[in-house]
C-alpha cells in the first residue's frame, strides 16, 4: 500500500511539474495590457464595425450604450454657447458676445459653428440642434488622429467626395474621414482633441489666447512645464477636470483666488486652479525665501510670476487687429500682405482685404491688472463712449477690495465697427459666400453690418465708424519651469512690470514718497547740523584760545 501511494504521489508530481510551463503560459497569454486603462476595447464592438455615412450616425451608435452622454453634453457650455453670469446676470457665451477678433458668431454660423461640439448648427437664433445625435462625440474622443471638422460646414467632418480646396478647422487640407476607424479608436480626450478648436480660436494658430497654441501638442519643458513630455506630461483634462461632461475653468467667471487649495484627501474639487494641485502655500515654507514667496499668494496670482511671457515656443499671437482698413482691393480683387516673420521663418498675414491690418507678437510680456475673477462684456446693447478706448470686456477688481489678485493678461488691441448714432458696438456679417451682403465677398461695411444687425434683431442707424478697443484674455497656460519664474526686481523696481498699477504699497517701486522725504529731511538736517557744529569748532579753535 505504502509503496503504491508513494509511486502515485511521485507520478502525480511529475505530471504537475510537466504541466506547469503550460499553466504559466496560459496565465501570460492575455495579449497586451491596453494602455488606456479602459475596460472596453471599442474596436471589438460590432455596432462600430460598419460604414458610417455621417457624424450623427456614429453618435447614435455611441448613444446605444452611453445613454446619458448627449444629454450631459447638451447641458454644457461646449454645446449651448450660452452663459448667464451668476454675479452680473449678463447673458454671455459665444452665441451672444462681440469680441475683438472675428467679431460675432451670429450671421456667420456655418464658419464659426465649425468648432461647435456638434453637427449642423446653422442658425444661431434657433439655438443648437435639438436631436441627441447632433452631438459630436468624436471631436473630443477620437484617438485615431484622423478625425477632423471642415472649417465651413457647421461642425461636420469632411466626407467623400471632399470638395476641392476644403480645409479643416486647423487650416489643414481636408481629407475624407473614415468614421468607423475613428469610432473604434475612442478614448479619453487628449491635447490633440481639445487643441484643434482651442489652439486655433480667432481664425488661426494662437491668434486668440496667446497662451494656447499648437506648440502645446509637444512643448519643450521651457515652454510648458505641465504639458511637456519632459515635464509632467499632463493633458488639458488633467487640470480641467470634468463632471458629467461639464468642465472646470471659465473665462467669464474665473476663480481668481482659490483659498481652498487641494481640499481634503479624496475630496472632489471641480476647479482648474493652480492651487487645486499645488495648495495655497505652494513654496517650501521651511525656507525664508519660500515663506516670503508664500506671502505674495494673497495678492499675486501664481501665473503673474510663473508665466513671464506668453506666445512662447515659436508660434506668435495676434496682438493688434484693425478692422477699419479692411476692404481695400487691388485691381478689384482682395489681397494679402505677409510682413510678419515668425521665429520659425513662417510668414504671417499683416493685411487681408477681408480682415484689415494685424500685428503679431512672440514672447509677449503680459499686461497686469487687479482681477477678482469677474468679467463684464460690452454686449451689443450697451452704450459705448467712442472718444475713449472701448473695453470689449472689462476685468473687475481693485487693490483694496480684499479678493483681487494681480493677474497677467493678453491685452488685445482692436479697432472695430460701431454705430455712430446709437453708440453701440455692431455685429457684422462677414462670412456667407453666397449672400449679397457678406463682407468677405462684397466688401461693403454698410450692407454687412445692416444684415447682421437685422439678423440679431438689434437697431442700426445706418451710420458706422471705427473705435479703438481693448480685449483682455487671462493668461494661465504656458507655465515656465520654476527657474524661469520672474525675479523679484521684475516688479520690485521703479520701472518694473507693475509700475502702472498704483494705489497699493509695494517695496522698491515707489521710492521718494512722503515718509522717505521726511526721513531724508531729518537725516540731512542731522548731517547739516553736525557739519555746521564741526565747522564752528574749527573756526573758533583757530581764532580763539587753544586748550589741551
Amino acid at each position: 500500500m505504502r509503496t503504491r501511494r508513494l509511486r502515485l504521489g511521485i507520478a502525480g508530481m511529475i505530471l504537475l511539474l510537466g504541466a506547469m510551463p503550460v499553466l504559466a503560459q496560459t496565465q501570460s497569454t492575455p495579449a497586451t495590457v491596453p494602455k488606456s486603462g479602459s475596460t472596453a476595447d471599442h474596436s471589438t464592438f460590432e455596432i462600430l464595425k460598419k460604414p458610417f455615412a455621417s457624424g450623427p450616425e456614429v453618435t447614435e451608435a455611441c448613444l446605444s450604450c452611453h445613454t446619458e452622454a448627449s444629454k450631459q453634453v447638451m447641458g454644457s457650455i461646449h454645446w449651448t454657447w450660452d452663459y448667464t453670469h451668476p454675479a452680473t446676470g449678463q447673458k454671455l457665451g459665444k452665441s451672444r458676445v462681440i469680441n475683438a477678433f472675428c467679431g460675432n458668431v451670429a450671421s456667420n454660423e456655418v464658419r464659426c459653428t465649425s468648432c461647435h461640439a456638434g453637427y449642423g448648427w446653422e442658425n444661431l437664433s434657433e439655438g443648437p440642434p435639438k436631436q441627441q445625435s447632433a452631438v459630436d462625440c468624436l471631436v473630443c474622443h477620437d484617438m485615431s488622429g484622423i478625425y477632423s471638422k471642415l472649417d465651413n460646414a457647421a461642425g461636420n467632418p469632411p466626407m467623400t467626395p471632399v470638395p476641392a480646396g476644403s480645409m479643416t478647422i486647423t487650416g489643414a487640407p481636408a481629407k475624407a474621414v473614415d468614421l468607423a476607424m475613428a469610432a473604434q479608436s475612442v478614448g479619453l480626450p487628449r491635447r490633440e482633441n481639445c487643441g484643434q478648436c482651442h489652439f486655433y480660436g480667432g481664425g488661426g494658430d494662437n491668434v486668440k489666447h496667446g497662451d494656447l497654441s499648437s506648440v502645446l501638442y509637444d512643448p519643450d519643458k521651457s515652454v510648458d512645464v505641465h504639458m511637456s513630455k519632459d515635464g509632467a506630461n499632463l493633458v488639458c483634462s488633467d487640470c480641467h477636470v470634468t463632471n458629467s461632461h461639464a468642465w472646470a475653468g471659465s473665462r467669464y467667471n474665473v476663480t481668481a483666488h482659490d483659498m481652498i487649495g487641494t481640499g481634503k484627501p479624496g475630496e472632489r474639487r471641480d476647479v482648474a486652479t493652480c492651487e487645486s494641485c499645488h495648495g495655497t502655500e505652494p513654496h517650501p515654507a521651511a525656507s525664508l525665501t519660500g515663506m516670503k514667496l508664500n506671502d505674495h499668494a494673497d495678492r499675486v496670482a501664481c501665473q503673474t510670476c510663473h508665466i513671464p511671457e506668453f506666445a512662447r515656443g515659436g508660434v506668435a499671437t495676434k496682438t493688434v487687429w484693425d478692422w477699419s482698413t479692411a476692404g481695400k482691393l487691388k485691381d478689384g480683387k482682395p489681397y494679402a500682405e505677409d510682413e510678419f516673420i515668425q521665429s520659425d521663418g513662417k510668414r504671417l498675414h499683416t493685411y487681408l482685404s477681408t480682415k484689415g491690418d494685424f500685428e503679431w507678437g512672440e514672447n509677449v510680456v503680459p499686461h497686469y491688472a487687479w482681477f477678482d475673477g469677474q468679467v463684464e462684456y460690452t454686449t451689443g446693447d450697451q452704450k459705448i463712449d467712442p472718444s475713449a478706448i472701448v473695453e470689449v470686456n472689462k476685468i473687475s477688481g481693485t487693490a483694496d477690495d480684499g479678493k483681487s489678485r494681480i493677474w497677467p493678461f493678453k491685452r488685445m488691441e482692436g479697432r472695430q465697427a460701431y454705430d455712430k448714432q446709437l453708440n453701440t458696438l455692431v455685429y457684422n456679417h462677414a462670412y456667407g459666400p453666397d449672400t449679397g451682403t457678406a463682407f468677405w465677398t462684397n466688401f461693403d461695411w454698410n450692407k454687412s453690418i445692416k444684415a447682421a444687425m437685422d439678423y440679431v434683431g438689434q437697431p442700426y442707424s445706418g451710420e458706422f465708424d471705427f473705435v479703438d478697443t481693448y480685449m483682455y484674455w487671462p493668461i494661465t497656460h504656458m507655465v515656465a519651469p520654476k527657474e524661469d519664474a520672474l525675479d523679484c526686481q521684475a516688479c520690485h523696481a521703479k520701472d518694473g512690470r507693475l509700475a502702472n498699477l498704483a494705489g497699493f504699497y509695494m517695496p522698491g517701486r515707489d521710492p521718494g514718497g512722503l515718509v522717505d522725504m521726511i526721513g531724508l529731511a531729518i537725516l540731512l538736517a542731522a548731517i547739516a547740523g553736525v557739519a555746521g557744529h564741526a565747522v564752528l569748532r574749527l573756526a573758533t579753535r583757530r581764532g580763539g584760545q587753544r586748550h589741551d
Partner: protein, 218 residues
C-alpha cells in the same frame, strides 16, 4: 577720587556693540535698496540679507536684554538731570571756546547724562519701534487675510522706514560726537580694549584692587 583706567566694557558688551553696529549697517544698506533708493543688490538677495540680519539682531537683543538685567548694568541708563544742563551747554557753547568736557565718568555712571538719555530713548523707543514693525512685516503671512491688511502693511512699512531713518540719524550724530571732547581714537578705544578713564571712589578702588584686580590698569 582718583582717575584710573578701569575695564568698564566687558567682552560681551563690546561684542554686542560692534556686532549690532555691523548689523545696523547691513540693515540700513539693504533697507535703502529695498525702499528703491539704490539698486546695488538684486532685490531678492537684499530681502534675504535684510531678513537674516534682522533675525540675528533680534537674537542679539534678546541676549543683550538678559545681560543688562542680570548684571545690573541697566542702571547706567537710568535718566538723571544731574549735570545734564552742563553737558548740553558744553556741546552747544563751551566746546567752541575750547572748554573741557564737564563730565567725569563714574564707576556706575560710565555715560554722561545726555548720552545716557539718548541711549535710553534709543533702547526704549526706536529699537522697539523698528523691532515690532519689522516682526509685524515679517509675519505678514499670518495676518494677510485681515480686513485692510494691505493698508496696515503700508502703515507698518512706513513706520519701520521712519524708525530706520531716525536710527540712521542717531548713527551720524553718535559717530560725530566721538570727535567732541576727546579725540576720535580716544573715544573709540574703550569700546575696543574695554578700559576707560573712570573717577573711582576710594572704596571702589579698594574693592577692585582686592577682588577684581584684572579690571584695573596700573
Amino acid at each position: 577720587m582718583t582717575e584710573r583706567l578701569v575695564k568698564v566694557y566687558p567682552k560681551f558688551e563690546r561684542f554686542w556693540h560692534w556686532s549690532q553696529a555691523a548689523l545696523i549697517f547691513v540693515l540700513l544698506f539693504t533697507g535703502l535698496g529695498l525702499r528703491g533708493l539704490h539698486g546695488l543688490l538684486p532685490f531678492g538677495s537684499a530681502v534675504m540679507l535684510h531678513t537674516i540680519a534682522a533675525l540675528a539682531l533680534v537674537l542679539l537683543w534678546i541676549f543683550a536684554i538678559f545681560w543688562h538685567l542680570t548684571t545690573g548694568t541697566w542702571r547706567h541708563y537710568v535718566p538723571t538731570t544731574q549735570d545734564l544742563f552742563k553737558v548740553a551747554r558744553f556741546y552747544a557753547y563751551d566746546i567752541f571756546k575750547g572748554a573741557h568736557h564737564p563730565y567725569r565718568k563714574a564707576f556706575w555712571r560710565k555715560h554722561n547724562p545726555m548720552q545716557a538719555l539718548t541711549y535710553l530713548a534709543l533702547k526704549l523707543v526706536l529699537f522697539p519701534a523698528i523691532w515690532l514693525t519689522g516682526i509685524a512685516y515679517l509675519t505678514y503671512n499670518f495676518w494677510e487675510l485681515q480686513p485692510n491688511a494691505s493698508l496696515l502693511l503700508e502703515i507698518v512699512a512706513n513706520l519701520h522706514v521712519l524708525a530706520a531713518y531716525l536710527i540712521a540719524t542717531f548713527v551720524i550724530v553718535h559717530v560725530y560726537l566721538l570727535t567732541a571732547g576727546h579725540s576720535f581714537v580716544e573715544h573709540v578705544k574703550p569700546m575696543i580694549t574695554g578700559f576707560d578713564t573712570i573717577d573711582l571712589t576710594p572704596e571702589e578702588e579698594a574693592y577692585l584692587a582686592a577682588d577684581e584686580p584684572g579690571r584695573l590698569k596700573r
